[in-house]
Amino acid sequence: MLAKRIIPCLDVHRGRVVKGVKFLNLKDAGDPVELASFYNKEFADELVFLDITASHEARNIMIDVVRRTSEQVFIPFTVGGGIRTLEDIKLMLEGGADKVSLNSAAVKNPELVRESSRKFGSQCIVVAVDAKKIAGSERWEVYINGGRIPTGLDVIEWVKKVKELGAGEILLTSMDTDGTKDGYDIPLTKAVTEAVNLPVIASGGAGNLQHLVDVIKEADADAVLAASIFHYGEYSIIQAKEFLKNNGISVRS
């Protein structure tokens, strides 16, 4: 059986992990490579690095992080944040990233999704979608620039379009549940998994392990992304997998 994936997300600023990982007995909990290595030992299925520096000179710092990670950690990882051009994508993939995630750039220039998936293969092009519910409806709107700018795009129409353009996976973040710790956005996630025949990573709102189970069982998410519940040591990945397994979900252990 294909296992459901648990993916810790690391926010990286100028080559350092922020929203620090406080519980771990690491020499340097701000070092993305050391954390990646720790999570690999914990049976994390993949990793996401989100570069929140968003300045041009930061790119080279991120490429260095990518290089060092790929030399030491032998599980797949995705890099997102500030990737705008084919050249950006090429540099990350050559550095050793397995996938890149495109967010604002995909909205501003949908051809980037088509061109990059043709050039590098759909398997490495993740489209990240930040979604917010339109009040009083059962519809969601796509936001860009870190959730600051509404685009007028309907989330369901958008994910169908990026699939046609060649995206290989959707990283779906609910702006309504993100940071609440009240659980993932199940109606949103369900609407997306029903609309497209692509793997979908649910993100935003994990506060406990039951939330992981709920979004997998009720919304058919293929993977769950989480940050704080793992970084602050509330739960280990191993515990999370045990919990999923006890709830009849197949996981790699």
Partner: protein, 200 residues
Amino acid sequence: MIAIINYGMGNLRSVQKAIEKVGGETIITSDPEVIRKADKVVLPGVGAFFDAIENLKSNNLVEVIKETIDSGKPFLGICLGLHLLFTESEEDGLHKGLDILKGRVVRFSDEVKVPHMGWNQIEIKNDNLILENIPDNSYFYFVHSYYPVPEDKDVIATTTDYGMEFASSVSRDNIFATQFHPEKSSDLGLKILKNFVSKL
């Protein structure tokens, strides 16, 4: 020395680093002479089948791959490197492969999510040295939309279930090829590479 064939299909760095991690000496090369001199050869790759076969031809790599396989040197294909060994592939129209193994590479049906992405289990059908100390039902990392259907079922080393059972690795004599990515499959993936480096 282990030659990792570079034919412009995807990044080979992860494969190289993983083999080095388990003690293999590697060289990434597209030079047929370097490949001829190597003790073992790896054919990795991600991307489209047709581009890949065209790149192998234009870099004069087809002959040396066939020679390597005939010579009995250990040969490891990964993902697209497995697909290329087969007679033909349905990816973007029907295209001829290297025809070293008889069979066709076909697409998953739309009843499952495509690509098949993530960690899935292997069931061992034909044990061999490269699978030594790999427990049955172990998880490996997959990412692909097409899979091989060998004519000769005896070449199937492992199968994996994704809506149906498919050949997730094949082996024959000195050839071993995986649909999954050992270089991305954590400790068990490294063990497979270590077997390739030290047992063959």
